[in-house]
């Protein structure tokens, strides 16, 4: 462990820890844009500069490893001035076309507000790039809001392992592009949305959620697709799932999700959802079953459940318990599968229960 002082507070951190992380552990917040704990430190935005005793100029705390007896100051009038300059420079090359982005306050805007920089005053007067410049159905690309923090590039490389994004040109002309300056899918994007999750400005955003507004609640749950068991946050507004966001505390996946987990949720509110019990007309009329089983009729729950119960009980009584088969579901809860098992074995009296584990 290395001992150092941050704002006069003694801090202990393992060797190799950056000053930014060490400060975070000590409860001291240092503003940053390009840094993210999941990603390799970059040192690009320079917002996180701190004064270190013995150094003439401030140092980027996101890349500076802790050293014994280091004395760090994270905020001072000079540092405030520096941060303000950085934010002014960043925003001087930023353009907000004014559309609804449903992101609330982005990290960039949060720091701008904190340091008293008015984006409207300093930002560009006209766009440098087309708004919505990529046809990807899930990912909204508006490079006018890009601040070249490269979090998208690192997220794609270091989390998804796909290397879709990269920097092209250099200096002031530097841009983030997909592949060899093509569209995302052509650059072999898998639409996992990691780049969106890590973007601090809204340059990358969820296309499906763009104009749906801010959620009124966020519920952490487990994904319904594969067996990996990712956790994610369902963002709900007025009883609708409007967006899926990463939950950094998800034990299996952290911030990461795949295309289905992050963007495969619109089936939930799909118009074809079954919302009323249905029985075949012949069952209501007590007539023999016609070929093709006949028409569906919407009924109330009691009617449907009674009919189903009588048919299943009747079959069991007439042909024996093993004439009934029960198929549970690998999509459903443990609790529901347990009940299906109990249903087959206790209520019907058969071991004819299975699910699609094999398929």
């Amino acid at each position: 462990m290395i001992s150092l002082k941050i704002n006069g507070i003694p801090v202990e951190a393992p060797e190799g820890t950056t000053v930014l992380r060490a400060a975070e552990q000590a409860g001291i917040e240092i503003p940053t844009l390009c840094d993210h704990r999941d990603l390799t430190p970059y040192g690009g935005c320079r917002l996180c500069v701190v004064d270190v005793k013995g150094w003439r100029f401030p140092m980027a705390s996101c890349t500076l490893p802790v050293a014994p007896d280091m004395e760090v100051t994270t905020e001072s009038p000079a540092l405030v001035e520096s941060r303000r300059t950085i934010l002014e420079l960043i925003l001087s090359n930023y353009y907000d076309a004014g559309y609804e982005d449903s992101l609330g306050e982005t990290q960039l805007m949060r720091w701008a507000k904190r340091y008293g920089v008015d984006p409207a005053k300093v930002m560009l007067k006209k766009p440098r790039f087309a708004v919505n410049s990529d046809p990807n159905p899930f990912i909204w690309v508006d490079m006018n809001k890009c601040i070249l923090c490269t979090r998208c590039i690192r997220a794609c490389a270091e989390i998804q392992g796909r290397f879709v994004w990269s920097l092209v040109e250099r200096g002031f002309d530097t841009r983030v592009v997909a592949g060899a300056d093509t569209d995302m899918l052509d650059a072999r994007c898998e639409s996992c949305g990691a780049c969106v999750a890590y973007c601090p400005t809204g340059a990358l955003n969820n296309k499906m959620s763009l104009s749906l507004g801010l959620p009124d609640k966020v519920v952490t749950t487990t994904c319904t697709y594969c067996g990996v068991g990712c956790q994610l946050d369902l963002n709900v507004k007025d009883g609708h799932v409007v967006r899926v966001t990463s939950n950094p505390n998800a034990p299996v996946n952290g911030m990461h999700l795949c295309v289905k987990g992050r963007y495969g949720y619109d089936f939930i509110h799909h118009a074809e959802r079954l919302t009323k019990p249905l029985v075949r007309q012949y069952l209501l009329e007590g007539t023999p079953r016609p070929k093709g089983r006949g028409e569906w009729v919407e009924v109330d729950w009691d009617t449907a459940l009674d009919i189903a119960a009588r048919k299943l009980a009747g079959t069991r009584d007439a042909y024996g318990a093993d004439s009934v088969g029960v198929l549970a579901s690998a999509k459903c809860l443990n609790e529901e599968n347990y009940l299906m098992n109990k249903f087959a074995r206790q209520v019907i009296g058969t071991n004819n229960i299975d699910h699609c584990a094999r398929l």
């Binding site: 935005c45 401030p58 070249l148």
Partner: protein
């Protein structure tokens, strides 16, 4: 380059002027003419002498003697005795007790000026650079042989440390100390990298060394490898330097044939290989960590430091990065010893420095002079004065990362310490001498355009700051400047210097700062009066503006 034999400097500080130094200067002109010495003796003034009872003084090179107080009637005797016959006029020398510290350094010049001191350029033009035998005949590989047979790696480092050699890339870090850092850093492998990505505008000394004496650099790399326990070295040569690359490759090949490279060099059990890596057109790769990134097949974006390459360099291993000129000092130091080396230059900056002289002067080119030389000396002795007799206005040192030195500071010695104190930077050794037809705003605009073009784009202050500074200065040259811009520029420049990730962004601020410090009136004239005093700036928008931003417009 034609070199003048002697130089006379007449003090022209206010006190001297008051005591009639102008008349002394005039008398010298007259007498040199009449003795037909004007061709071989340079005459100039010196301002930075400090107040002394001995004013006015006259300094004569190469003997570096200081006469004073000198009266106009003494001039005839100084010319006839000293300059014509070669006898120092002892009784007219300034008494030691009257020599202020501001002048004492001039004495260290004794015997060293105006003739060039050739340590690094000793073989340039004298040997066939593609012939290793020619090199060997001229002391080649003797330093290596000495190191491998008579010295431990530790002793090699000690000798370099004792010599006081400082890195010639610009920062002036003590070379011996760097070597010992790398030698003692933990790692599986170590690397030597020779930084030959010479891209500072106006600097081509490395090219001259590589093209004319490639084996000297190669020998130094091998010695460095031995000293720091490395088995592999890279030389990163600028992509545009095709001839340098060709000759260096040939040198590597020949060194292999002669057993100076490869396994068990000279029977010492020491193995060393050198790879040549070509740059591909990026100034920023002259920054050592960007250079390492570039070798690793990445964009040349400088890393954050610490950690430094000495511990985390190429492929994450301890790496010694030295500039070509720095390495060129190594073989002579080992061969002749640190004591010998310390005879050149100043006590705090020993050795010689290779300068490239450019701009509005009569002679441009490469020179090698002791550390501590002054700009005035350079202009008058080596550059043979200003072209067309125009007045010297300013010099820009060290390529684009250097500073602007106004005429008033031309007596500041160019070494690693003095310029820092005076706020000027030695940098890479390029000296762009500008006459009074140069518009400082136009010049700084060109410098900022360069930084904007060469910024890697990684960090905010440099990427956007260079652009904004460029835009502001350009607006001034196009008649669109505001007085308030100047404070904004200064503030931005200061923040760029504080916040940038590497030297590029930091030094981009220097010309702005220097311009506003030394030439503010001229800048303000553009804004207040709407005119360019030198008539260079057109004061109307130019189409170039559109060109520079066209590629990011929708």
């Amino acid at each position: 380059m034609k070199i003048t034999r002697s130089m006379v400097l007449v003090s022209s500080d206010p006190l001297s002027l008051q005591r009639g130094s102008l008349e002394i200067y005039r008398r010298f002109q007259e007498k040199l003419e009449s003795y037909q010495l004007a061709e071989e003796v340079a005459l100039s003034t010196i301002t930075d002498v400090g107040n002394t009872e001995a004013s006015p003084v006259v300094v004569i090179y190469p003997e570096a003697v200081i006469y004073g107080p000198v009266q106009p009637e003494n001039v005839d005797r100084l010319v006839s005795e000293h300059l014509y016959k070669g006898h120092i006029v002892e009784e007219m020398l300034v008494p030691k007790r009257h020599l202020p510290s501001r002048m004492a350094w001039l004495q260290s010049r004794k015997g060293s000026l105006p003739a060039q001191q050739r340590i690094l350029l000793a073989r340039v033009g004298k040997i066939d650079p593609e012939n290793i035998e020619d090199y060997i005949l001229h002391d080649g590989y003797q330093a290596l042989a000495k190191a491998l047979s008579k010295m431990t790696p530790q002793q090699v480092i000690e000798e370099i440390s004792k010599s006081g050699l400082q890195g010639r890339g610009g920062a002036g870090f003590p070379t011996g100390r760097k070597w010992s850092f790398v030698a003692s850093a933990p790692g599986n492998k170590r690397y030597v990298i020779c930084n030959a990505d010479e891209s500072e505008p106006g600097t081509f000394k490395d090219r001259v060394l590589l093209e004319s004496d490639p084996h000297a650099i190669l020998e130094a790399m091998i010695i460095a490898g031995y000293a720091i326990h490395a088995q592999e070295g890279y030389i990163y040569i600028r992509g545009e330097y095709e001839l340098s690359q060709k000759r260096f490759l040939k040198a590597i090949e020949q060194a292999h044939e002669y057993g100076f490279l490869g396994k068990n060099i000279l029977g010492s059990n020491f193995d060393f290989e050198v790879h040549l890596h070509s740059g591909a057109g990026a100034y920023v790769c002259g920054e050592e960590t960007a250079l390492i990134e570039s070798i690793e097949g990445k964009r040349g974006e400088p890393r954050s430091r610490p950690p430094y390459p000495t511990t985390h360099g190429l492929w994450g291993q301890p790496t010694l990065v030295n500039n070509v000129e720095t390495l060129a000092n190594v073989p002579p130091i080992l061969l002749h010893g640190a004591e010998w080396y310390r005879r050149f230059g100043t006590p705090s900056s020993p050795g010689t420095k290779v300068f490239t002289i450019l701009g509005n002067v009569n002679a441009t080119g490469v020179i090698e002079a002791p550390m501590g030389i002054t700009l005035r000396e350079v202009i008058n002795i080596y550059a043979q004065g200003m072209k067309n007799g125009a007045a010297f206005k300013l010099a820009q040192t060290g390529g684009s990362s250097g500073s602007l030195i106004p005429a008033s500071l031309q007596d500041t010695p160019l070494d690693f310490d003095s310029p820092r104190k005076a706020g000027v930077s030695l940098g890479s050794g390029a000296l762009l001498i500008c006459d009074d037809n140069t518009c400082v705003v136009d010049l700084v605009k060109v410098l900022l355009r360069f930084f904007r073009f060469e910024s890697c784009g990684k960090c905010t202050p440099c990427r956007i700051g260079t652009q904004r500074c460029y835009e502001t200065i350009r607006a001034i040259t196009e008649g669109g400047g505001q007085l308030s811009d100047l404070d904004g520029l200064l503030r931005l420049a200061e923040q760029m210097e504080r916040l940038s990730n590497c030297g590029l962004g930091q030094t981009a601020a220097v010309p702005i700062r220097d311009m506003l410090k030394h030439f503010r009136t001229e800048v303000e004239a553009h804004i207040r009066l709407g005119i360019c005093p030198t008539g260079i700036c057109r004061m109307v928008p130019e189409d170039e503006t559109a060109e520079l931003i066209e590629n990011q417009m929708v």
